[in-house]
Amino acid sequence: MRAVYLKELRSYFTTPLGYVFMAFMLVLFGIYFMLYGLIYQNADYSYVLDAVTMLILFALPLLTMRMFSEEMKNKTDQLLFTSPVKIWKIVMGKYLAALTLFTLALVITMFQPIALSALGGSVPIQKVAGGYIGFFLYGCCFTAIGMLISSATENQLVAAIASIGVFMLIFLLDGIATMLPSTRAFALGVIIIAVLIVAFLIYRAVRDIYVTGIVGVVGIGAAVLLFFFVPSLYDNLLVNVADWCSLVIRYSDFYTGVFDFSNVVFYVSFTVFIVFLTIQVIEKRRWS
């Protein structure tokens, strides 16, 4: 894993990609820092951490788009897969390298609130520290998603565009959910479709019609039974689920000064799950 990590980290700096990413991040933070800290004379740096949440999603694909796409396109993946390194180590090596660069850029931005504080501004340290922790976890999740997308295509441009699309969808998820019908029947319909999709994915993975059937029947059966016996569960279900899953809403807790450990657990679990999915995708591609 160390060899992959070091090689990946180095490769960010042997091509312009790493520099462009860091420059993008620093310029982005710099613009909002200038706006809030210097023009509006506001020492609360958490405003900056709030403002960059969406725009940063355009920068992260720079880090993730080439992670596996490039290996597949150049056929260097064959060298990796015939070496005695486990797939999870390859994935983790690449992921940690991307995360290191992201963290490095983030650490550099910390000079801004430090400077504000040093110049006499009353920076709310705890709130800003919480904001940074949240922003780091937020970046961990989106970096993992970008890596997953990169593992599914050998075209870097496709990986970048798809990443931005998926990032935007996730970013707007809770907003989209509020636009959907809030009736119980609609929520039931969405759940049935979700169960069918899960059953299909299970079938593709295990090719076992019985397992697929059991998952499908049990899932739909449970959804229908709940619909009749606990109907209140379906009130505003989609909005509630979207809010619970939202990476953005959870992040807002951090920069508004609420440190809820369950949010940390959610971000870490989400990241681990996406990294696990990436390992599965790579394993599957390798065998196909």
Binding site: R2, N74, L79, L80, F81, W287
Partner: protein, 245 residues
Amino acid sequence: MELKLEHVTKRYGKLEALSDFSITFETGIYGILGANGAGKSTMMNLITDNIRRDGGKILLDGEEILQMGDRFRQYLGYMPQQQGMYEHMTAESFLTYIARLKGIKGKAVREQVQHVLELANLQDVRHKKLLGFSGGMRQRALLAQALLGEPKILILDEPTAGLDPKERVRIRTFIHELSQDRIVLLATHIVSDIESIADQVLLMKKGKLQRMGTPQELIAAIPPEWEPVAYHLSLEDVYLYFLGE
């Protein structure tokens, strides 16, 4: 060391790329001849554990390679058909990276990298980026990476494809020199590449082993009425006679 394929089958949809294929490899150079689609690369990909087989066993000294997993890959040196490389790396850093992937540690990394650079005659260009390498230099760099970790099984897929005659001779000689105490599998459709160096020649067609033997045995098996391609019988005639191509 013994690498055994027992009734190995691989299908791509309805096409049977390798059909109930059995063979035992021991130390030496095995030249694998066959037209495109004969099953050469499929066999190599199965041995390198890069594709899933549909049936049969592959055993290294009696142990299934799938169960050996990473331990099996430590015995393996693989030179793929495509010249996939990290273009922005120098030859030395590329080889250092592969050495580390192979689990070589500490001082041994530098020693082995120097050794394979010398073997592949890449010493003078070791600080040059792979991007600027010629086809022959790239092939030698790929061959060099396959040699790291002193693998006991060396799998070379079309190692001389696209090279000029001078480079081909150089690589051929190189392969011959490193065949001691190793199983070397060399797939190619360039007959002259293996004529002088292979201990055994496998003739493959449509996923099946048509015939196997030393070059002399195969040449001797051609009936006298066959008209040689050139002045005397060679592996070219064996290829044309047995594979009909």
